[in-house]
Every structure is written in structure tokens, then in C-alpha cells.
Amino acid sequence: MLELAPILHKAFQSLTVWVVAHGLTPLAAWILAKAIQAGVIVLLVSLVPIVLVYAERKVSAFMQARLGPMNVGPYGIFQTVADGIKLIFKEDIIPIGSDRLVHLLAPMVVVAPVFVCFAPVPFGIGLVPIDLDIGVLFIFAVSGISAIGILMAGWGSGNKFSMLGGLRGAAQLVSYEVPRVLSVVPILMLYGTQSLRAIALAQEGRWHGFLPKWFIFYPVVGQIAFLIFLIAAVAETNRTPFDIPEAESELVAGFHTEFSGLKFALFFLSEYAYVFLASAMAAVLFFGGGDGFPAGGLLPSWVWFLGKTSFMVFLFLWFRWTFPRLRVDRLMHFCWTFLLPWSIINISLAGLMILLRR
């Protein structure tokens, strides 16, 4: 068993010893340790999109009777790296009609929150950067900031298509935030905590010694909550069938039409980082995080976590390459008249279940 938690724990202990031996306080050692953790997360979140873009290309290729990237490296695995390098060296075009400051800030506002959002995510048992007791709320709140970035991108470009895309994006993100948050409420009610680490730990255990006590296996409530969360998460990440802010065929490229080079790369990175975040959240909230199956795990918990996250990522890719796009008014209609009532019904069902179990 290759659990990372004890090794890291030991490493940080020796770091503390080393720092204290050099005449600093343990607080300084703690700050240093957290800084290193933050660096690792930033690195991870920046590198994960490279893998996800490659995965998307390959998955879409196999769904579409073609091969996908094959030339750069074996099976084209370095294609996304090459594309990343290309994007860095591309000219940064700023349209004359744009609001230069807003245009510059928009990609940063979109991409910055996603790094912060990973702080309370347990990447396995004992692998939590910061165990916030308001973890779930924190992620929802911080990731909501990206809506402002999309609005800024749409407005700052000075392009009508961008503006339509930005307005659509803001409306969509704000609307779908509601069912997404409400779909998670049954989990909070059942486990009585908002800490993602505690939620993951609470799902350890087996019914009849076999079926894992993951939230998705809770009768009715679990499945409804998962479906609503999944649909809302796809909408939050602006991916097909909800890619209305980008809507290639209607709005050219929506809010990021006028962005090129590194700024475009940041939008690209943020999209995949949000996919990874949503998948990681689903893995923790509904699939027991690092909890292995069968009991005991066979594999280390972080591998289980990554496996569940990859499965969720695959669902995202699968949706994108199978569904057409909804129309913007139908999208809103779907959110307010279908998802929202059902998430409220689900909360009452969860309350009923908790009462009956007393």
C-alpha cells in the first residue's frame, strides 16, 4: 500500500525540525509547509488540463471513428504540450474597441478562483491541503467568482458576439448555481458537516458488509441528488449540452472570441480545471472520495480518488461528444422549472429519511 499521507506527514515533520533547528518558530515552519502544498496544488491544477485535453481529444476521436493526435510523441501524448507552447508564443491581440484593462483582467479573474477552490479538496485519505469546516460552501462561493470574469470578458472585448456570450454565461452560471448548491444539501443534512474530508470519511463503511455506504447508493435521494449535481456541474463548466456562452455555431466563440495567445490559454485552462474540480467534488461527495472497494481498498486511497475523478471526467467528455446544444431560453426553463423543484423535493425526501431513521 502506497499511501502518501504518512510519507508526507513524516516529510513535513522533518521540515519542521530542520526549520526550528535554523532558529525559526514552528509557525514559520507551518507557513513554509503550507506554501509548498499550495505550490504543489497550483502545479497540479495547471498540469491536469494538459492531460484532460489529451484525454478529450482521444475520447472524442474514438467516439468519432478516427484516431486523434498521433504524431507528436508516441500516440501523440505531447500534442497538448506542443499546443501549450504554441499558445504561449502567439501574438496577444487586443482589439481597438476593447476596454483594455477589463480585457486584460478577465482571464485572470476566471482562472484564479479555481486554484483556490482546490484547497479543501481531500485528494485521498489524509491528503487535505486545508481542512476547512465550511469546505463545500467555500468551493461554491469561490468558484462563483468566475461568472464575473466571463461577464468581464464579454464586455471588455468590445464585440457583440462576445457580449451576448458573456451575458448568457453570467445568466447561466448564476441560475445553475442554485440547483447545484441545493443538490448537495441532502449530503450536508445527512452527515452534518461541510468539511469535505469529514464527508468523505463518513462514507466509509458497508451495508450488509458489501455495498459501500457512498452517498450515491442511498436509495432515491442519492441518485436524484447526483443527477441534479451532474447536470448543474456540466452547465457550470460551460460544456455541451450547456455550452451556450461559447456556442461556436451561433456566437463564433462566445466570450473568448477576441482573446488570443496566453489569455486564451488561461480560459482554456480554467475550463478544464473546473471540469476537474467538479469531478473531484462529485468523487468526494457522492463516491466516498478515497474510500476503496472492496473494503480495504487494494489500492492506495489517492489512486481511488483519482480513478473516481477520471470516471467523472469521462462522463463530462462523453456528454460533450454525444449531445447537441440546448437553446438559451430552454436552458433557463429547464433550470428553474425542472431542476430547482426537484432539488427542493429531494431535500424534503432527505429530511423524511433522516426522521424515519431516528
Partner: protein, 383 residues
Amino acid sequence: MANEISVPSIAPEVFPQHAPDKGMFISLGPQHPSTHGVLRVAITTDGEVVTSAQPDLGYLHRATEKLAEKRTYPQIIVLTDRLDYLAAMTNNWSYCLAVEKLLGVAIPERADYLRIIVGELQRIASHCVFLGTYGIDIGAFTPFLVAFGRERERILDLFEDICGARLTYNYIRIGGVMADAPEGWDTKVRAFVKEMYGHIDEYDTLLTYNPIFMDRTQGIGSMSQEMAIAWGITGPNLRATGVKSDVRKDDPYSLYSRLHFGIPVGKQGDCWERYWVRVQEMRESLKLIEQALNAMAPGDTMGKIPKTFRVPPGEGYGHLEAPRGDLGFYIVSDGSPSPYRMHIRAPSFINLQVLQVLLKGWKVADVIAILGSIDIVLGEVDR
């Protein structure tokens, strides 16, 4: 915005000098991912609702009709390839029908069957492109690579076998076809036809009956029969409104009167039915190909036509059911080696005109759905 670009006030409806009093002016195209080429639609919107739409054409004008006046009759076939570049076979064929009427020559039976086979294969290939690009318009990417990248490629391979070209064929010639089919070609076609039935069923699961796709297209951009006829709409767009009109039945050319096939028609002429009619037509085309293959006997593939010839003075009009509608060539000959005047009745051009009334009142997202469902090829619109 910062810099106002001054444009000549020649066409105020497509190049307005001022922003509209109410709403927003959007110039959709000529560089836009879903105008299928270089079409520009000048749209005024109120929020997301279109209040006026005006197609602006001419970005791909190549003066084909004028060029034809300086070329000999066989040389013009090459020009027709470049009109509707997704259905070059039917362009060749329609032009040859017009010239053959002027000349009064008889076509060998095998050549006629070969024409029917390549013509119907071309219809399937063209509808495959429509199906794929329409999927992209609605936001589904996979049907494009399945229909365009897999099945259409197979048809192009068959065309390459028979005439050496994959896009601009120049295969159907005045008096017959360029060459007989190579040995074993008919078995390849048979194998493809057999497979294609299954692939069309696959399209149904991928796109036709997809709930989101139906939601996006059903009841959108409906056209009444009267409206369609008044605007001169032909082809699948007209049949989707319920009018049972098909040149292959109404004015049978070639050997279509010997073959059995149905004409799929819709009821209300919305985007989904325009799409559905095309999918059904692919099935009917497969039946036609099978019948033609069974009826075809060995023989000549070229009529008795001299290498250089003069066409007797007079007028000739040939038309046929192209994938996009009633494609006609009107030729006036003054007895010289090249036509005095050639006019092309381009179905895309005529079908496109209805957009200015059809788009009004729909949302911006529907504009794309309606534009895609009309299925235009700009090479033919601008000629």
C-alpha cells in the same frame, strides 16, 4: 465603439449607416462558423429576438454564366463542377441534359444507368454533409465526423474509382459518361449500399430522434405550402411542407420512369422535417441505386458525338432533381461553338431568398438552425 468604419451607402438594408433605434445590429458573416461559406446575414435583434434579417450575397461570385460564353460546350462541364461543389455530379448532369436537348442525341442505356447511380450516390454524399454540418450548427459534433468523415469518404472513394476525382468530377459528358465503371465497381457499390442502410439507422439514434435535437428543431422556422411555392422553393425544403414535388416524378428525365421510389414529404415544414425528409431521401436513393445496378447491362457508355461539334441555333432547358432542389440550365445557342447565353437556375440561390421573411421573430440561436436547415451551398448561390 472607438473607431467607426465608414461604408458606402449603396445598400442601407445590409450596410446600415447608423445603429438601429431599438435593439442591436449584428453582421452574421461573411466570416462566421455556421454560414456555410461566405454568406452574410445582416440581422437586427431586440434582445435575442430577430426583428429583421437580410441576406447579403456575392462574396463568392465568379461569373460562371459569363465565362460559359467564351468556352466550348464540353469545356463548360468543368465550370459546372464548381457551382454546387458538394454535388458536382448532378451539376454536370443537368448541364448535359440541356445540351443534349439542343443536340437531340440519344444516350446509351448503360450510360443513363451509370448517371443514375452516381447521381443518387451524390445525393447521399451531399445529404451526409448536410446532416453533419447541421449537427454542428445545433452543437452536436459527432454526427459530422461519422457522416462526413466515414460514409461520405466511402462514396468519394467510389467516385475516385470511376472517374479519378473526389470533388470536381467532370464525369458526366455530353452524350454519355466519361468512362465505363471499372471491373468490380458494382460489387463495391452494392456492398456500400447494404452497409449504408445500417448507417442511416445509426444517424437516427445519433441525431434524428435525439430529444435535444428535436427540441431545437421541431416547430422552428415553419414554412407554409403557399409561402414555399410563392418563394419558388424546391427540393427537400418544399417537400418538407407537404408538397409532393420532385422533378424525377413530375418531369422524368433519364430512366427514372422505369424505377420505383417514394417521395418522402413532411407536414408543417419546420427545421426538423426539412432534416427528416433528407434522411428519408437517402434511403430512397439507396433503393434507386440497387434497382439501377440490377437493371444495368453491358454496353456503350458514350453516344455518337463527334470530338468537336456545333450546336444548332435554338434554346434548350435541362433540369433535374439535384440534392438541393430543381437545378436547371437554360442555354441559348447561336450556332457557334460556345453558347450565346447560359443561365443557371440555382436552387440554393432561390431557396435562400426566403430567409428574409423566415428568420423574423426567431431567436439568434434559431437563426442558425433555420439557416442550416435550408441547406445552401455558397458556390451555387453566388455562381
